[in-house]
């Protein structure tokens, strides 16, 4: 957090909708996001809140019924000419995008099967990626493929390279996709739920790998996940998304130890507490997320927010700064608002967590 932090991605006022038979789905409603060199930014939030759609904009991946209503995404990189370039990813041609994707930006998609070709062996799929940005051929190329599989913890790499995707377990497929993404030494790596199918030990290993590469190569990572333990491990900054907007952002410590938005409170409260007995019901946020077909008035979370103020139903809250690296968009932070504390249960949980070092047992 020194003054030399270098911003490599700057997203502003991103708005994306989808045309459906029932009308326009407003999936992303004004997202701002900054990513700095060598840092990891996590996006957490409710399922369907627009995390993947946001990330896919950076990759220029859009479906036919998708409408980008506004937004810029300035990406800064050092080109092969050695000079620094800044481009707006939202207005690049497909061809320009392909050039960037091979060499500077890579993404690990949420659904590993869909990003692998079922008719091609793992080796061909890996080799294809590597060949695009290196001159490796023959046995060197093969050796690199083996090395990459070993890197992501796949045993018997030789046999696995000859396999087809359906012959691998879910977690192995996911790791192959990670290996492909890493193969191009990207400046910016976007991981969309990269470890959901992985058991805890492999997950820890992949996360360590990403952290290590990051330290070594200074890559930046956007990490989308719902696993707050993973966030605690990898992220420097956390953005909490709800119904197409970022509602709270700060350092990982800010968000875990001093959450301010009632949705963040709900999210943190929903983690199974380690001492929870099985007779206890898990805490859930009452109600359903808003229907994104409708226009949203006020704070989108208000109908589910037990602490909602009248104004929450009328007017959209602006961002209130908690400190210079932490803000939340909730009227509760307005100086005129009544003083509302986070739920007592969450407060004691956070206190407990800080005290005993977050022991899960």
């Amino acid at each position: 957090m020194t003054s030399e932090r270098k911003r490599i991605l700057k997203i502003r006022d991103l708005r994306v909708s989808f045309k459906t038979a029932n009308g326009l789905v407003h999936a992303v409603r004004g997202v701002d996001l900054d990513v700095y060199r060598g840092e990891t930014v996590a996006i957490v939030g409710e399922s369907g809140s627009g995390k993947s759609v946001t990330a896919k904009q950076v990759m220029g991946i859009r479906t036919r019924n998708e409408v980008v209503e506004s937004g810029t995404a300035e990406f800064t990189y050092v080109g092969s000419d050695g000079a620094e370039h800044t481009v707006d990813l939202m207005s690049l041609s497909d061809k320009e995008m392909v050039g960037l994707k091979g060499n500077h930006i890579a993404m690990v998609f949420q659904d590993p099967l869909t990003s692998l070709d079922p008719t091609m062996t793992i080796e061909r799929q890996l080799a294809e990626g590597i060949r695009e940005h290196t001159d490796l051929t023959g046995s060197d190329l093969h050796a690199r493929c083996v090395e990459l599989l070993e890197l992501v913890g796949i045993t018997e790499p030789e046999a696995r390279l000859k396999s087809y995707p359906h012959q691998l377990s879910g977690g192995m497929r996911q790791r192959v996709v990670i290996a492909i993404a890493l193969s191009c030494d990207p400046d910016l790596l976007i991981c969309d739920e990269p470890t959901t199918a992985l058991d805890v030990t492999i997950q820890a290993r992949i996360l360590d790998l990403i952290i290590e590469l990051q330290r070594k190569l200074g890559i930046s990572v956007i990490f989308i996940t719902h696993n707050l333990g993973v966030v605690a491990k990898v992220a420097d900054y956390v953005n909490v998304m709800y119904a197409g907007k970022i509602v709270e952002a700060g350092t990982t410590e800010d968000v875990f130890f001093d959450p301010r938005h009632p949705y963040t409170w709900g999210l943190l409260s929903s983690m199974p507490s380690v001492s929870a007995s099985r007779e206890e019901r898990l805490f859930t946020i009452k109600g359903n997320p808003p229907n994104l077909l409708n226009e949203i008035v006020g704070d989108a979370f208000a109908p589910r927010n037990p602490f909602a103020l009248e104004i929450d139903f009328v007017k959209e809250p602006p961002r209130f700064e908690v400190n210079d690296h932490h803000w939340a968009a909730t009227w509760l932070l307005d100086p005129r608002a009544p003083k509302v504390e986070m739920p007592a249960q969450l407060r004691s949980r956070i206190a407990q967590m800080r005290q005993d070092g977050g022991e899960a047992r």
Partner: protein, 314 residues
């Protein structure tokens, strides 16, 4: 999360004995994906299956619901032997009474079918003459329960987020009130608040209908919360199994211990520098074919040689 009122008496709902599932892979090798696995699931209980990636969890699930022909072993479900060729009658019963939620939601949903029809699959197969309104109403109710909105009923899978797709699969599996649901990483793709919602839902359904769950997952904190019994798999073997509290309070096998130590903590200051225990069967000289199952206490058993057991239980 067994229903409080269900008394575990009578026989198991599912009984798996010496299950083996081998696959030939390129290069002439054979993968012993599942190698001599035995376990029982009682009616109305939740049986958690955990273990590292590639340890054979999905393969076990797929074998139980007979998606693959098994190499050897026996599977008895609700009184029917389902290990061999299935008669029409048994196949029909199996399809009504057992369902599965798949690990890859996108790959298991037909991209050209609207989700309303996907969720109604079971209804259409077993009650083909159902009134259209009634069918629709049942699907809507199910969608409500898993936290999807009715306005999404006519969409196609590609138009959903990852977590929403997984809930479509869940709705499809639950709509027939099956006796056994195999949930393969069914909640891993969901955010924590929806996870909690789905887990509560699964438990409600269990309480209402007495369904049993084979709950395959890698998130031990959730598995611990949801399961009555747990089996830990590694390299195709169950290395340790027992009641949830037995496993968590006295893990014996070093692999189980390493798994438990790898559960992420929620404190960023601690988590960044924490390194879980490492388990390497080869390096520690553990060969599963040399061990046999030893009872530690009650239902708690461990795959080990006599010497290993002595060293591990201290």
């Amino acid at each position: 999360m067994g229903a409080a009122g269900v008394v575990e008496q009578g026989g198991p709902l599912l009984s798996v004995r010496n299950l083996r599932q081998y696959f030939k892979i390129p290069g002439g090798n054979v993968v012993k994906a599942v190698d001599d696995v035995s376990f029982d699931i009682m009616p109305g209980e939740t049986f958690g299956l955990v273990g590292e990636s590639g340890s054979g969890k999905s393969t076990t699930g797929r074998a139980v619901i007979r998606l693959d022909d098994i190499t050897s072993g026996s599977i008895v479900f609700d009184g029917d032997d389902i290990s061999g060729k299935l008669s029409k009658e048994v196949a029909q019963r199996l399809r009504t009474n057992m369902s599965m939620v798949f690990q890859d939601p996108m790959a298991s949903l037909n991209p050209y079918r609207k989700v309303i029809d996907t969720i109604a699959t079971g209804l259409d197969a077993h009650r083909p003459h159902m009134d259209r309104r009634e069918r629709e109403e049942l699907v809507y109710q199910m969608m409500d329960r898993v936290g999807l909105s009715r306005s999404q009923a006519n969409r196609y899978p590609s138009q959903f987020s990852g977590g929403q797709r997984q809930r479509v699969g869940l709705a499809r599996a639950l709509i027939m009130n099956p006796k056994l649901v195999i949930a393969d990483e069914a909640i891993s793709a969901l955010d924590v608040s929806i996870q909690a919602q789905v887990v509560n839902l699964m438990r409600d359904i269990q309480q209402e209908t007495g369904a049993a769950y084979l709950f395959i997952a890698h998130d031990l904190s959730m598995v611990r919360y949801i399961s009555d019994h747990i089996a830990v798999m590694h390299l195709g073997h169950i290395v340790e199994s027992g009641r949830t509290d037995e496993i968590f309070s006295h893990p014996v096998h070093p692999y189980t211990r390493s798994l438990i130590s790898a559960i992420p903590r929620f404190n960023p200051q601690v988590e960044r520098d924490r390194h879980p225990l490492v388990y390497d069967a080869k390096a520690q000289g553990i060969r599963y074919d040399e061990g046999s199952y030893h009872i530690v206490s009650g239902t708690h058993s461990v795959l080990a040689t006599d010497q290993q057991l002595e060293a591990w239980v201290d």
